[in-house]
């Protein structure tokens, strides 16, 4: 059965604890100038079954690396990733491959992530057969049904990826993720490469599929308005860490961290009177040399001496509203 009965109380489908992903770079004479990029630096959160957790942050904040580390596409340096109680970081490659049936990913670039040499029907059928989703004899009709589910025509079965527009390709990527009937889909900037009118179509499709298939999304994006539209809860990342996390209503109405407040004030909006803008000075520091104390203090307009010395704890400031700031 594709559709399961509803669960009454929230059940954690994914739990990430103290996740770290570092990359070593060797520089200089025989790698003596050794440096470490702290891409994801101690991140903890959970995702409830059936909800959408939005992860928002600017380029280089580690949000994509985090997504990949959760799927074990890149082995985390440290920490644990529990999916339905199973510790993914300890699994062997073969075991992970089986679990990938439950966790799927949709990528940003629909041009780079589809095989140009086989028809989309062949591609989808291969996935269905590999994972034994349905009987081999039924796989063609299953794939055709899948294409209709994502708003494409059955007759597209025999076409190649290059024959489709960006929006249609993204529908195919979604069909591919959906083909194995996953429980969790990680969407990494899934609508960022699309024009707004097409973006709206894909967002609506994702919402519809979520209901139809009882999916859970981890939705990674840099676009706050998209995050606000799709998410139930939102986590804001800055330089490898989560700096704020709360329900969508709470976080957008009462943002606590100066970084989120600056982000919100910086988005240009249609038909809005000019708002007071918090313009952040400078740029995101390199994840090789993370500032002492609060890692946001170099750009924070409200930074005090304390911020330069002491790392703020990521703590619950209000019911269900977490933030890492001394003065929030």
């Amino acid at each position: 059965m594709l559709i399961k009965s509803e669960t009454p109380e929230p059940e954690k489908i994914l739990e990430v604890k103290d996740l770290k992903k570092f990359f070593d770079i060797k520089q200089g004479f025989v790698g003596l100038g050794h440096q470490t990029v702290r891409a994801v630096d101690d991140v903890s959160f959970f995702v409830n079954k059936g909800e959408t957790l939005g992860i928002v942050g600017e380029s280089g904040c580690g949000k994509s690396t985090m997504g990949r580390s959760i799927l074990q596409l890149q082995k985390p340096t440290d920490g644990s990733v529990l999916f339905e109680g199973i510790e993914l970081t300890k699994l062997k490659n073969g075991q992970i491959r089986k679990l990938r049936k439950d966790i799927q990913m949709v990528f940003q670039d629909p041009f780079g992530s589809l095989n140009p040499r086989i028809t989309i029907g062949t591609m989808l059928r291969e996935i269905v057969n590999t994972h034994h989703v349905v009987n081999k004899t039924e796989s063609k009709s299953y794939v055709e049904e899948l294409l209709e589910q994502v708003g494409l025509k059955k007759s597209y079965y025999d076409r190649y990826a290059h024959e489709f527009s960006g929006g249609q390709r993204q529908r195919i990527s979604i069909a591919r993720a959906l083909a194995v009937r996953p429980k969790l889909i990680v969407c990494d900037e899934a609508v960022s490469a699309l024009d707004v009118s097409v973006q709206a179509q894909i967002l609506n499709l994702l919402q519809k599929l979520k209901k139809d298939y009882e999916l859970t999304y981890l939705f990674i994006s840099h676009d706050l308005s998209v995050i606000k539209h799709v998410s139930d809860r939102v986590a804001v990342m800055y330089l490898g860490q989560i700096v704020e996390l709360a329900s969508k209503e709470e976080i957008f109405e009462h943002p606590l961290h100066p970084y989120l407040r600056a982000l919100l004030s910086a988005i240009p909006l249609v038909n809005q009177p000019k708002r007071e803008r918090i313009i952040l000075s400078g740029e995101v520091p390199s994840p090789i040399n993370i500032p002492e104390g609060c890692r946001f203090h170099t750009r924070c307009p409200f930074a005090k001496d304390l911020c330069k010395q002491k790392v703020p704890a990521f703590e619950q400031k209000k019911d269900g509203h977490w933030a890492a700031c001394h003065f929030a």
Partner: protein, 332 residues
Amino acid sequence: MNDILSVNHLSIGFDHSYGHTSVIDDISFNIEKGQTLCIVGESGCGKSLTSLAVMGLLPSGGRIHDGQIVYKGQDISRKSQKELSEIRGKEISMIFQEPMTALNPLHSIGYQVSEVLRVHQKVSKHEAKEKAIEMLRLVGIPSPEKRFAQYPHELSGGMRQRVMIAMALICHPGLLVADEPTTALDVTIQAQILELIQNLKSQFDMALLLITHDLGVVSETADKVVVMYAGQVVEYGDTKELFTEPKHPYTKGLINSIPKMDEDTEVLPTIKGSVPSPDEMPMGCRFVTRCPFAMEICSKIKPPKITDGHEVHCWLYSSEDVKGENPSVDKV
């Protein structure tokens, strides 16, 4: 006549071995001194091509086959490349989306910024360097004396865009053409760059032709806006008016399909389908295949230009009795 740039009935097409494809079809707009005009539209609507035509930089095969581009009273659309190179960089400058590909990786940024001056103003090397450092300071590059000798790869995306702006503005042009200047940047950096462009614009009394797909950026920076769809202008006018009272079904659809920060909607309004390819453009209105209000006439005859407050190209607003039926416009 305060117009610094006026584009009149411009049509651009591409010639190829099997015929001719019309890409830009009869577009007109004008920019006054010191004004900001935005061209907004989705990928493939011809907004970038329009900006390249203004610069005289159409890609090979592209040809202006009708219309004029008038800059300060003279038609620049028929000028030779040699004549244009006198204007480019000095009178009209351009900045691009990707500062990394627009800058030369083999020369220091100081060399590239001062080169513009040495070419156009015949100043000494020393004087050019001084002015270049001054300009780099003006665009907010910290310690420009030190940065002068650095190469593009040593700078971040935001800094590179600042260098591009310094290069574009060092000769104090009358018009800056900016093609998606902040699209590759993060929102916080985008805010910095947009503010910088606005400040320099008033400081230099310069007009700005801004090409973007981001309606939010348009709404906050433009005096006037041109909405393009598939190579045609669908709506054109004062920004505030156009955004508070959009008329064309495409403009309305576009504004509605952005997820809003101040309201919650379960299902986003969408525009069905996608942009037709240049080879299968419908006759008449090019939006007809996606328009929820399409009438019979729309697929046959190109919509008239109707000016009521601002300009809209749509049969819905025609006073002619179109086939006897008068669809309710308010429902759009």
